[in-house]
Amino acid sequence: MLARVADRIFWMSRQMERAENMARVLGVTSNLLLFGSKELQRQNLLAPLTITGTAERFFEHHEQLTLETLIDFLALDAKNPTSILCCLRWARENAHAVRWQITSEMWETLNGTWLEVRAIPRSRVTGAGATQFFDWVKDRSHMFRGVTYGTIVRGEAFNFSRLGTFLERADNTARLLDVKYHVLLPSVHDVGGALDYYQWAALLRSVSAFETYRTPYRDQVFPIKVAQLLLLERRMPRSLAACFDQVKEAMDRISGQSDQAAKRLAYELHARLTHADIDEIFQDGLHEYLTQCLEDIDVLGNRIQRAYLGTV
């Protein structure tokens, strides 16, 4: 497969996944604002900006950090490259460039999503309709993934699409956990109170893991269990371990010899997550661990780019 085509497919999938994750983060953020002190609310509002590294950019354009301005910036701002709108646009642009190498259903899903989001008025997103909008974004992403999985030939296009999806998801889950770690974890072994419970529940919901967590632990919040679930529980499809199972699988199927550095790192990260111990992670510092993870994911992304996609 042409390197450029693989690149487009990789990024098409990454951008769609990124849009979904942004919708998840914003959805949780609006829920979190219902509780807590002014300071806590501010921290919660700041979190999505921290995750995406766009705080500085935000304050260049907005004086007040409110839910409204935040959603404005991260959902529909055509000038903010990390906004949902931009992600959907780029996913569609990438698909457009390779629409002959993907299935028409994939193209139509992304094209339809773009045509729809472009027509959504601001008022439907920042007001009471926000939750509905975020759900819609998630739905479209689920649909795209399903359509991809259900229609595309199992070849390089499929491999690079999967690679993009799960590398992006791993990145997002790690960021999400890292930011909440700051907000919520003054002491590792604390068991949180009612307010903390809400905060953690929101985090779990944002990665569709709330029900999974509650079954064994009920309404008790053990930060270490939450971290265990999001990092190492490979049966939980948004955990880092599960993402790297998929990354490794995709890498296994990709052919070619020019890629040893990328494959080596992917397998290394996979092994590290497979054989990790949550107590050890907490002893050495969760934040330090996550920082390392994010750095590794970034390096892996660059190596994939260099090995297969023709650009750095």
């Binding site: 028409s104 010899q257 020019s258």
Partner: protein, 470 residues
């Protein structure tokens, strides 16, 4: 004007021509609402498949459908055979001309065409001098624009020898018609065009250097924002070859390779859909991001074949056009089968004066213009437009040619008010590899506005399926 246009369906006395009879009957007996429903279906299908084109100057990525008219244009077989002979003859002579001007230059020495006009032409590529091309073919894919004048004869309006487009519409229009109105094809036997992609691939493979046993062919596109991107992708897919952009290719050790996920792969033939000037930033425009650095030297070394060849533009230039009949006589010793439109060259002072005197009656074109841009249709232009154009001609006479306003024949077409005659032209595609081949048919473009003679899709033209039938 007041002249009677030639109508493709009806003779002057109103009688339906024999080859249109089946269609006329079908039109008469098919309820209007069924036809309207089918037209909506066609629109929907074209949108779904994504047969769109980008419009220059429009917001990036803006796409439109080229309007598709569901009434085909029918050409009787006997007439087509004559046309095809004329097209083969013309393209053969044009290729001989291209070989000649980059080698012995016999035609210039014989004084048939003024040497300075050819050698100083912007499209003349010195880099092509003495280069031996497989089969001596330069324009492997040619699109020849024809019109039928009110005298009932076909005239060549222009030769497109660089990167002619439109063939995907010829193919898609046929597919659409067969899908929408299968019963029509049962009533009349229409000669097929579907094998065009196979012929194209065969032609492209024949372009490769003779020692290459199983040539790898790619289609080179400027990218998704190009107005003909759909066609590039379509043809690549139909032929089962890679669609590449400049940055996908690189030259190493004198050979061209494409970057794939499993490493570099050798390429032997490039069907390039980008202009000469953008092909190689080292040889032509240095600011081109579309091309491949080093491509020209690989080409000159015979390590890569290009279709069409570099430097074909000098033969389809509007200032060369008037000489094509003489070329045919010179190289083939035959009388031209297809007619040329009488042409005044503004580069000649006395002809320029005549042109300026009767500007309101003429069609004036830029020598290098295409797509209907940079063109004056005198009878349809306002006083102010004519005056403005007069100044442009005075400022740079060599840049313009003028022709009498040719009347384009009309063909019944669906419009708001029902079925009405609209002006059409015809672009058949001629493939030259080891031999010259063409499929029976071409792209019929139709000016959808009442009275309009501009058929270009960028200016509101539509297309029709073209039937060669008995």
């Amino acid at each position: 004007m007041g002249r009677a246009h030639y109508d493709e369906m009806q003779a002057a006395d109103g009688e339906v021509r024999a080859h249109f009879r089946v269609l006329a009957e079908w039109l008469a007996e098919t309820p209007a609402d069924r036809v309207a429903e089918k037209r909506r279906e066609a629109d929907l299908l074209f949108h779904r498949v994504g047969i769109t084109f980008a419009v220059y100057g429009d917001e990036a990525g803006a796409e439109r459908l080229i309007p598709f008219d569901t009434i085909p244009r029918v050409i009787p077989s006997s007439e087509w055979e004559e046309l095809a002979r004329g097209l083969r003859q013309r393209v053969a002579a044009l290729n001989r001309f291209l070989h000649d001007i980059y080698h012995e230059q016999d035609i210039l020495k014989a004084g048939v065409i003024p040497a300075e006009q050819v050698l100083t032409n912007d499209a003349y590529q010195v880099a092509m001098l003495g280069l031996e091309l497989t089969n001596h073919v330069y324009a492997h894919i040619a699109g020849i624009d024809l019109i039928r004048h009110d005298d009932g004869k076909y005239y060549v309006l222009e030769d497109n020898l660089r990167t002619p487009s439109g063939v995907s519409y010829m193919l898609e229009n046929r597919r659409m018609m067969m899908r929408l109105f299968p019963e029509l094809f049962a009533r009349q036997s229409v000669r097929p065009v579907e094998h065009y992609s196979a012929l194209l691939l065969e032609t492209l493979r024949a372009v490769a250097a003779p020692q290459v046993r199983d040539p790898v062919v790619v289609v080179l596109t400027p990218g998704q924002y190009n107005s003909a991107y759909f066609e590039h992708a379509f043809l690549a897919q139909q032929m089962g070859v890679e669609l590449v952009e400049g940055p996908d290719l690189f030259v190493k050790d004198g050979f061209v390779h494409m970057r794939t996920t499993s490493g570099p792969q050798r390429v032997d033939v490039i069907y390039r859909r980008i202009d000469d000037a953008f092909l190689d930033p080292l040889a032509f425009r240095g600011d081109s991001l579309l091309g491949v650095p080093g491509l020209l030297s690989a080409y000159r070394a015979g390590n890569i074949a290009l279709a069409n060849a570099v430097g074909t533009g000098v033969a389809d230039d509007k200032s060369t056009y008037p000489y094509v009949p003489d070329m045919i006589r010179f190289y083939l010793g035959e009388e031209p089968i297809l007619h040329n439109v009488p042409t005044w060259q503004c580069r000649r002072p006395e002809e320029c004066r005549q042109v300026l005197d009767q500007l309101g009656e003429l069609v004036v074109k830029e020598v290098q213009g295409s797509g209907g841009y940079g063109m004056l249709v005198g009878p349809a232009a306002s006083r102010a437009e004519i005056d403005a154009f007069r100044e442009r001609i005075r400022a740079n006479p060599a840049n313009y040619i003028a022709q009498p306003t040719m009347s384009l024949s009309t063909c019944p077409t669906f419009v708001e008010s029902g079925v009405a005659p609209r002006h059409v032209d015809l672009r058949p595609f001629v493939l030259s590899g080891k031999e010259i081949k063409l499929v029976p048919g071409g792209l019929t473009r139709v000016a959808l506005k009442d009275g309009s003679l501009v058929v270009n899709s960028s200016q509101g033209g539509g297309t029709k399926d073209t039937w060669v039938a008995d």
